[in-house]
Amino acid sequence: MILFRIALRNILATRMRTLIIGVLTVLGTALVVVGLSLLSSLEQSMASSVVGSVTGHIQVYSDEAGDKLDLFGPPTGSPDLRTIEEFPKVRKALESHPNVHAVIPMANDFAVVFAGNFLDAKLAELRQAQAAGEQRRIGLLKEQIRHVVETMETETDALEAFKSDSTQQQELASRRELLAQASQTTFWDGFEEAMERSMEFLENKIAPLALDESMIFLRYLGTDLDAFSKNFSRFRIVDGTMVPPGKRGFLFAKQVYERQVKHPIARRLDFIKEGLDAGISLESDMMLGNFVKQNVRQYREILFQLDGDASKLVAEVLAQHLGQPDGELSDLLQSFLKVDDSNFSERYKIFYDVIAPQIVLHKVKIGDTLTIRAVTKSGYMTSVAVPVYGTYELMGLEKSVLAGAFNLLDMMTFRDLYGGTGPEQREELAALVEKAGIVEVTRDEAEDALFGGDPQEGEPEEGEPEEGASAEGAGFDEFAHVDMSSGGQRYTQELLETEYSREELDRGIVVHAAVVLRDASKLEETLAELRSLSESEGLGVQAVGWRDASGLVGQFLGVLWAVLVASVLIIFLVALVIINNTMVMATMERTREIGTLRAMGASRGYVLKMFLVESSTLGLGFGLLGMMLGAGLMLWAGSSGIPAFNSELYFLFGGPRLYPTLLPEQMLIALGVVVTATVASTLYPARLASQIAPVRAMERED
């Protein structure tokens, strides 16, 4: 084929032009190959992240919902999702579909948990000791509290540097006054006589001054824990135990537990360790450096928690380690926390071996009862106590912030938080009403009690008194003072031991439900079938695929696709312009040659063909080269994996590394796109060439 030979020789003859077009084509093809491979691999891994964490393949929720379900969306406001009425019926109908493996009821919300500070915890312990009349323990706790208060007072001077404006100065003055009052010997001498007054003073005035008071922001998913753990194969208990079937219980997401519940200094040390393990140096990294600075600044978080014996022990160890035998504990702590690359690992060990056992490492311990305060759907505050059984993680997604954002709790507790009423609550209400005259009821609880048990909402449960429910409902008021403590235990003890049947669980509040499929590849068909099923059976639910259900996260993938398509288009355009220009120039240069061909009897079509053969040869040749380059890159990436540098990537990658796969059709698409681009960009110059008149052959060579 002479045309091909001419094309090839022309390609070889005009090196510069060939180089320009070649580089463009190779890069273009490689980019398309890499882009396609990465994105579809990303899509797959993300699918496994999203599907495997909470979403399942399909989510169903009420078709009367005013908002769209967005499981990973930012926690702003409460979306109007309504609830799934008659969940058992919905589940039964959905599970009748041959491709549906399981339907897991869910509801998600968020709440702020006030993790009381160290002083609060000690005071609560003191109250317990008083109630039990344990004199020795009372004495011990009293000493500890007194030590903390004194430490707070001496540390107040250090705060002065940070408080500059007048309001802050005022605050500081009142703080100093209060602390001075609390550390007076007379206050402690007269402590037992004026026990109640002293306690209240400490609880209400002094405890809020402690620095480590913090809120924990919790996102929780109420679900059938048993079904959840069985159907999400990545689920694994890390600490503690699984919530027994049918019981009320709370499981922290391991990540939330380590990042939000842990002592801030320990948490930062963990972060630093992670960074150093990843090869980052403290000296060069701003963020890690800031963590060190924060730790040094917040050394009081440790100091306040150390009582007499503990502070002696810690001071001794630190003094020895730092070689400052006469150092004050506060100075020792500060210089100890000023870690650098050389001493970090040793100090990290000392921290966990010596200091950690003396302080409260996690504000909520496994086995504690967590009191969650949330705004119910009717708009009032409610508090619900629930035992923390343990922490869980999703295997392969351990470090993913998004996948690890949901803490799990049972449906019953969720219902209470949501504002639904069960028989227990009505009984509590009754008890409350009975005791109304003698129990001090705070504003919050009053609203809770008065409006919480909306009888209309509770209709289905009517007339089915819970046998295990307590009619006494005592100690309701303790909620007000102790958000996180054993304070609520007396009231909930029996509730917490109640085992609920599947039937009862189903009557909880179900806002949405995850549908786990047997064959994920039939997602779209199943989705359509479930939709029509809901319509024909009048289930009143709408079904969305995991991509839609995961809201922004799912859209992120769409954005990535758009970016890929856009960049391919841009490359296409740039190639079009550059190749077009070079080819137009080539046409000009070859005017006489083309004229000669025409004079010799070559038709216009022949000239057109000549150019197109040339450009498609170029496109195909370099396209293949680029394809191999891209494929090589992807194969290499596929074997070694692309590391997830941060937690968001971790979620997207569905694990610590993304192992992209490359499909033959992706390579062919890339080649097709690039050859099309090259050929398209030659159309105009080829047409121009075909219009060169044969007379041009006569032009003289000057």
């Binding site: 003859a13 004079a599 038709s603 022949y606 052959a697 060579e701």
Partner: protein, 239 residues
């Protein structure tokens, strides 16, 4: 032209005939009258020269005869066909099958070797099998004395050799007419003479009609017909 028996014969056998041919170009705002009413005939097997100084219109005339251009008025008949009446496509076909071109600057395809260059018009014609093509190309290259330069690219050949390749290319399709535009202008006089001798030789043995433009007196000495042009008009016609 007289009405002698030879003259009549010549007219009857004219392979190219020009009837009051005019050709105007528009160059900017002015009309250039390149050919201003020319009539003559060229008989089959002639070795005809169109002579004249630069700008006299000889190249224009050659283009008209070579069917790469059509007249503004008048008629050009090539092998009996009026070129003004033919479509672009038909003209292309006419050039492909009946005409051969030799250019002043040789106009070989730079990226192809001698063999490929000569073979090219046969490929354009199509319908000739590989073996026959090869035979014809080899025979032509042998005839022009380049049998051992088949694989040489134009860049590797001398001017004379390039023009020989061009002659082979023009003749390989057995055209009725070969048009040569100042074929010796880019060659030294000795080589030029050899090229003229070669063309004359082919004219004699193959009876191919040659029409060339030139202002080289040595070339004109070989011509059987000479049309001298000045300012777009034939001022002298020698048989």
């Amino acid at each position: 032209m007289s009405l002698t028996p030879e003259g009549l014969q010549a007219r009857n056998e004219s392979i190219v005939e020009l009837k009051d041919v005019q050709k105007h170009y528009i160059l900017g705002n002015t009309i250039v009258q390149a050919v201003r009413g020319v009539s003559f005939g060229i008989g089959t097997g002639q070795f005809a020269a169109i002579a004249g100084p630069s700008g006299s219109g000889k190249t224009t005339l050659l283009n008209l005869v070579g069917c790469v251009d059509t007249p503004t008025s008048g008629a050009v008949l090539v092998d009996g066909e009026n070129t003004s009446a033919l479509s672009e496509r038909a003209l292309t076909r006419l050039r492909l099958h009946k005409l051969g071109f030799i250019f002043q600057s040789f106009n070989l395809i730079g990226v192809l070797n001698a063999f490929d260059n000569v073979e090219f018009p046969l490929l354009l014609q199509g319908k000739i099998d590989r073996k026959e093509r090869r035979e014809r190309v080899l025979r032509m290259l042998e005839k022009v004395g380049l049998a051992d330069h088949l694989k040489h690219r134009p860049g590797e050949l001398s001017g004379g050799q390039r023009q020989r390749v061009a002659i082979a290319r023009a003749l390989v399709t057995n055209p009725r007419i070969v048009l040569a535009d100042e074929p010796t202008a880019n060659l030294d006089s000795k080589t030029g003479e050899q090229i003229i001798d070669l063309m004359k030789e082919i004219n004699r043995t193959e009876h191919t009609t040659f029409i060339f433009s030139t202002h080289d007196p040595k070339v004109m000495a070989h011509a059987s017909q000479i049309f001298r042009l000045e300012d777009g008009l034939v001022v002298e016609a020698k048989q």
